[in-house]
């Protein structure tokens, strides 16, 4: 008995889908363009969601190893060089495990019109004039290991550097524009005295004391600004969070497009659609059947658009490295990292996208039909 009821139910819906398909094909031009626009909206939304989630995940993973605390010196509201004796003062604070000075800065290369991040790498023990460069610089300047590169120092004299190594291109997201040299070359290039650093990094014995130690540093060195690792992570979390920043703007535009779309659908039916419903009712269709048929219409279009939009977005982000977003992120920058977004998908985010893109459309299709289908067929057809 249950099997018979089930079979009847399935057959009934198969016939309804059959009829819906004929109805959709009758207006194939209109419905196809609807499907294309709908798919594009989902594609854009899903691409932004997948891309921003991948970047957010990567930033949180990679920057979790950034320094626990950075202390900058501020002069007249701007970041300034830090005297070496500040390192001693900071290391005297109870709870501070290690203090070291960092030397880093920027250099504008007029030949390729790009900014390099010049940084001292003490661990690599580079000789004077030797450099290790990011894969981005190597690509844009066409450099290989052993090549020479000339840059103007702070007195406009040409200083020659030999490329001792190129950083792995897999790490471009953090190293595309890095230009690593030793401390003496750095000081000579920028004309810095021996007793200054760009900033200092601190490691702390007990992670629960970060805030206390930051407060102590401000008391002992009032012209400084401590930046905690947690703040670095929050900075990147906020940029790629989908409720903030540019992601939110794109999201709003797409939602607005969708609202216009659904509104057009919900605000009324064409005379032809009314007539069709009238005929169906006059030929014995029940109101519930008409609504079921229209449910299938909305469901087939919206679910197809969701599946196509999502799959295109997946291929775009993870197989084409989000190529459509590159011009937006690149801005005026010449050095742009080549990277593949980490293949990480937030299932909840995709479920949210499904819910907000499919259900409103199905409802917007059913409601006006329900209004027409409950009226007298004779009145509808007139």
């Amino acid at each position: 008995m249950a099997l018979f009821v089930m079979k009847t139910f399935v057959n009934r819906h198969l016939y309804l889908i059959e009829f819906t398909l004929s109805s959709l094909l009758r207006f194939r031009g209109k419905n196809f363009s609807l499907l294309v626009v709908y798919t594009l909206v989902i594609f854009l939304l899903a691409s932004v969601m997948l891309f921003s989630n991948a970047l957010r995940h990567e930033a949180s993973l990679v920057l979790a190893q950034s320094p626990e605390m950075i202390v900058q010196r501020m002069v007249a509201g701007r970041h300034d060089l830090l005297p070496a004796d500040y390192l001693d003062k900071a290391s005297g604070i109870r709870g501070v495990k290690q203090v070291s000075g960092r030397l880093w800065g920027y250099h504008y290369d007029p030949i390729i019109r790009a900014n390099y991040t010049i940084m001292v790498d003490a661990d690599r023990q580079l000789a004077d004039g030797e450099i290790v460069i990011g894969a981005g610089i190597a690509r844009v300047r066409g450099l290989q290991q052993g090549d020479y590169l000339g840059l103007h120092d702070h007195q406009a004299r040409t200083m020659s550097f030999q490329v001792a190594g190129i950083l792995d291109s897999d790490s471009e997201l953090v190293s595309a524009d890095l230009f690593l040299i030793n401390a003496s070359t750095y000081r000579a290039f920028f004309g810095l005295a021996q007793d200054v650093y760009t900033d200092m990094v601190l490691s702390v014995r007990n992670p629960r004391e970060y805030t206390t130690i930051a407060e102590k540093i401000i008391q002992r060195l009032p012209d400084t600004r401590p930046i905690l690792r947690d703040e670095i992570l929050r900075t990147y979390d906020a940029i790629f969070a989908w409720r903030q920043g540019i992601v939110f703007v794109i999201l709003m535009m797409a939602v607005l497009a969708f609202v216009i779309f659904a509104w057009d659908k919900a605000s009324g039916l064409s005379a032809q659609e009314r007539k069709e419903i009238g005929i169906l009712k006059a030929t014995g269709w029940e109101t519930a059947d008409v609504i079921r048929m229209k449910f299938w219409e909305g469901f087939l279009i919206s679910v197809s658009a969701f599946i196509l939009g999502y799959l295109f977005a997946y291929v775009h982000v993870f197989y084409a490295d989000a190529a459509l977003f590159e011009p937006v992120l690149k801005g005026w920058a010449i050095l742009y990292p080549r990277f593949s977004p980490l293949p990480v998908i937030d299932a909840l985010q995709i479920a949210t996208l499904f819910f907000f893109s499919v259900f409103p459309y199905v409802l917007a299709t059913i409601i006006p039909i329900w209004r027409v289908a409950t009226t007298d067929p004779d009145a509808v057809m007139r």
Binding site: E18, L21, I239
Partner: protein, 100 residues
């Protein structure tokens, strides 16, 4: 096969592909795990603080290190003119102090 059955089969295939994308991502992630570990090691060794996503201006290159005045670096009334400046939010450290 009836048209309705063909459509339902296509939908089923589509849903399977959507679910398959999760598996595909998981497998792809396993392939690049070592590259991610190298990146993490580089960040730790060089004490890096930021992603090299926006290299056009110093306050977008090292976003977390930016100060309140870096966006107005030329003069106090200078308007933001780097495209990436409009994509990013002020660093977390500055926002936290505003909240206090």
């Amino acid at each position: 096969m009836r048209r309705s059955q063909a459509v339902l089969v296509s939908l089923f295939l589509g849903v399977s592909m959507v679910l398959g994308s999760f598996m595909d991502a998981g497998m792809a992630y396993r392939h690049i795990e070592s590259a991610v570990a190298e990146k993490v090691a580089l960040v730790a060794a060089l004490k890096l603080t930021d992603l090299a996503l926006f290299t056009e201006a110093r306050y977008t290159r090292h976003l977390s290190q930016a100060d309140r005045h870096s966006a107005f670096q030329d003069h106090p009334l200078a308007l933001e003119h780097f495209p990436s400046g409009s994509l990013v939010l002020p660093p977390g450290s500055l926002r936290k102090r505003n909240e206090l």
